[in-house]
Amino acid sequence: MYSDKVMDHFQNPRNVGELENADGVGEVGNPTCGDIMKIYIKVEDDTIQDIKFKTFGCGAAVATSSIATEMVKGKTIEEARELTNKKVAEALDGLPPEKMHCSNLAADALQKALDNYLGIENNNICDACEDISHHHS
């Protein structure tokens, strides 16, 4: 089902945890639809110095969180802004079709953390999850 890369990040997730004095925090999803992701960033000199996540979600959610944090750690805000769902999924050597929406979570949470750092308001929670839970209900 999952690629070796996904399983690697699932088994040994990188950057798990919280940051006490985070400069930005982004949260997406809600427990009702089954997935929540929270990303904490520490920014210095326009660069993501440290990043941590916590995820309540499926294997794909855990793996995308892990790889997304790894992909942007040490990168500039501008570079991090370019992280998309698609790039996350690609970096994991793909995801099963029904799990593609999970990759949204990580990129969305990161963008929200960046928004939060930059002081941009953003209320919408994970759109993908909303869609899905409506679709299946």
């Binding site: 699932f10 089954g34 916590k54 995820t55 499926c58 294997g59 899905i132 299946h136």
Partner: protein, 388 residues
Amino acid sequence: MKRVYLDNAATTSTAPEVLEAMKPYFTEKFGNASSVHSFGRENRNVVEDAREKVADLINADDSAEIVFTSGGTEADNLAIKGIAMKHRDEGKHIITSACEHHAVLHPCEYLEEYHDFEVTYVPVDEHGMVDQKDVEKAITDETILISVMMANNEVGTIQPIKEIGKIAKENNIYFHTDAVQAVGAISVDVNELNADLLSLSAHKFNGPKGIGALYIRKGTKITPFMHGGAQERGRRASTENVPAIVGLGKAAKVALEELEEKQEKITKLRGKLIKGIKEKIDEVTLNGHPTKRLPNNVNFSIRYIEGESLLLNLDLEGIAASSGSACTSGSLDPSHVLLAMDIPHEIAHGSLRLTLGKYTTEEEIDYVLEKLPKVVDKLRAMSPLYDQ
């Protein structure tokens, strides 16, 4: 690596003696059981012999009341659509429960959508239990069928089928029970239950996959579901699946012989597993009825963690378990059964089902009790919900 299989409600291994019984019917005795020649006739006999054994397992009066199908799903489809299509002129109302398997719910929905049937889904309580009074209240002049499962596949709750069957009988309504999880696990008697129709599936009790049966009480008229040849006395078309039928017959025989012993052994192991989980992991709730439950079913909600991650982690330890509804995995929704029991979404997402089987050992239970708490710790440490 050690491998511990605790997903026996999803499917069981075919017992070696069952496979042994099936083997000759693939390559040597392969005839079409409906043929006139000896290759066919010898198979006709073994098919009828298997029918007897299935009848014995559920205490049917006559083996002619058994129709072989391709599994539990087909048995459910045949029962529900078969009664509905045959008796639609007498009424178009069906009563079922909110915690049925999809093999019952979806045929009901099909009848609603395509045939203007009305279906009442009676609720269940927090233990997944149907109240027979709700069934009785739901009856109208139009009601032609009541279908309530004997035991739930997710939480193991055993329903008051005898009582519901009695109500159906008193009101002259056909009564079907999906006993796919019950047959082979607990004692099942179609007469005691007042069942007019009863579904079973071989692969749930160490028989082969792809074969099941519907019990149809003598005199109960149904429209066939699988249309074609005249097999199964015109009630189910398609070339008889002789090896699988032989396998079902053998599994039925073994199940009947071993029933008491197996029940006792498994109930004891289950007790140990439930006790151990409660002791070793905090914030867990046992789902399903505390006592009226299948001997092999353990179902816990483990707060703050999500089902698939839990399963994958257990799998990495060699433990096979399930979460939500095993038969519809691939869906992102939490199980309709847990939701019907009013378990909140986020807790339903973290459900874990461990189902024991005839080959489960105490050592395996010990292994799970050693590994599961560690996996839960790991996932909770990652969970944004845990220390909130």
